[in-house]
Amino acid sequence: MATVIPYRARPGRHLELLLLVPALLLGVGAYALVGIATQDTVPAGITGYAVGLVGLALGMHLVLRWRAPYADPVLLPVVVALNGIGLAMIYRLDLAYALRGRETDFAGRQLGWTALAVVLAAVVLVVLRDHRTLRRYTYTAMIVALGLIALPLVPGLGAQINGAQIWIRIAGFSFQPAELGKIALAVFFAGYLVTNRDTLALAGPKVLGLQLPRPRDLGPILLVWAASLAVLIFQRDLGTSLLFFGLFVAMLYIATERLSWIVIGMVLFAGGAFVAASTFAHVNARFEAWLNAFDNAVFNASPGGSGQLVRGLFGMANGGLMGTGWGEGRPDLVPFAESDFIVASLGEELGLTGLLAMLLAYLVLAQRGLRTAIGVRDGFGKLLAGGLSFVVAFQCFVVVGGVTRLIPLTGLTMPFLAYGGSSLLANWVIVALLLRISDSARRPTAAVPPVPGAPAPVAVLEDDVPAAGVAGPAGDGPDQETERIDVGDLR
């Protein structure tokens, strides 16, 4: 005889505070070590830097205590650690650029963006009391997302940097609106799929043992595919295009549990990428640089050569197993070492050991997001949490895969590490949303008073059973159950 025992989640705010100590130590320690290695003394501004970083982390922690006491205790420390490491590396690259006569203040700006991003995340947590509110804005989110993605194409506003038309320039600041667009898209996909997933899950013809969907249900995926190809063609950015399409396919799979959608998505994207590679020079150059990276002609080709990629590989090889140590390597030899190639910079100075630890931290981040998706009770929250954590994980895969020459290099940013305000803002908002959803996933349900006259179905189970189980007669509230259409009702 078996029985179901519910676990009750502990709030975990003390654990979070405890984990924040090593997380902050990592950021501040890296900053100090950079100074020790390059100037033989701790950097002058370290006290202010430490106070700022600790203040931001503690502020966020207090907001969580106030507004989301049951939120996941691991998310915030992991993100704070990654952000701190990224800041230290950007500061270190500033110093290296200065030695070569190029004055930059990437670190200062990144610190400003970090502060702004943390404040924005706190605002999201305070304002958004329940993630299900977002479901009301499903189609608004779609329009916002499309607008944000199309914004760089507006003449006068959009700016072309290094071939890709994905930036806008306002008052001297360049910004990638697509980074925020991906959040809006995730909201839209979650809201759309939660209402329409039953149709999309219907079985169609069976080919080679794979249950395909019905042909007439292919509309949405073809639409998103066309949109992502449009991004690839008009904005010349492989990364953004891949991210949007990947997000849709992943959320479709989460919503319908049908493997065939992933197969269809991969076939569609491979076909699109193949056509794009043979038609457009800039895509073709990426493939060429990936396949024949060590070819002399490809290495020296400018633009679109493999010089950056190969220099990054040399840097990581120089780092080896244990790394050269903070401030001891030469990551500044790689172009865009502070943004696109920050993984290679960290790989050089912290070695494989450090890089693997960081990848594990990302794994923890994605795992917590997916665990939240399993734990939360409403379908919209499940899809949103699943989609958002997929975005973070997918971005890591695409960036690290590109830098390590596993896949062609694309222009995505490493979440929290890479230099770039829009990416930082978007990823902190994603974390805020995940924290909000995890709070509702882990919060014990309030005891429902039994309705007189109704059967009292209390069994071996106690009160807080997620997803399914023995529910009280009052149910879980009006919006808990997602709108699922019975398969039979459609026939």
Partner: protein
């Protein structure tokens, strides 16, 4: 600063990085929530049928059974609980009282199944004249008692398998 100190700081940083990641994973291990299915002995089941407060894990189950006055012997009065023996909710037990039990996907059901193959109000188990009956509520995929599809109120005895969607239920004494 000496070479040795720098090397120590470098390695110390990596150690700190790994300690942090492992600590985070350690927290994950402590941070289980949701439900877990455990096996337990039949004897201990009886006193728990009462809707008492959550039995804290600290108290040994055996002692709890001793503390209670001897379990009421009701062996001949028919089934006392409905048990999910197969499917995602395996192990869930509902005590059988005098009222009907509604099974389906709707949150208002007594036993809520998260199962694509069950309808929102799928089937009903109810007592009448000292016997328990199963009735299908017009579900899409049907309710099966002993592998036969139910098309009207069907009496069920303990131990007979009732299939609803992907779940199999059973009345038990």
């Amino acid at each position: 600063m000496s070479e040795l100190t720098i090397t120590l700081l470098r390695l110390g940083y990596l150690v700190l990085l790994w300690l942090f990641v492992l600590a985070a994973i350690g927290v994950l291990r402590r941070d289980l929530y949701g439900t877990r299915i455990v096996r337990r002995l039949r004897r201990e089941q009886n006193p728990l049928a009462a809707p008492a407060g959550p039995p804290a894990g600290g108290r040994p189950e055996g002692r709890q059974a001793e503390q209670r006055p001897s379990p009421i012997p009701r062996r001949d009065t028919g089934p006392r609980r409905l048990v999910v023996v197969e499917g995602p909710l395996r192990g869930t037990t509902l005590p059988l009282g005098t009222s009907a039990i509604l099974i389906g996907r709707a949150p208002s059901c007594t036993l809520v199944l998260d199962d694509d193959y069950s309808s929102s109000r799928h089937a009903r188990v109810y007592p009448e004249g000292g016997q328990w009956f199963v009735e299908d509520l017009g579900s899409t995929n049907g309710t099966y008692v002993d592998r036969r599809r139910v098309d009207g109120p069907t009496p069920v005895r303990p131990g007979i398998q009732i299939r609803v969607g992907q779940s199999t239920l059973e009345l038990q004494r």
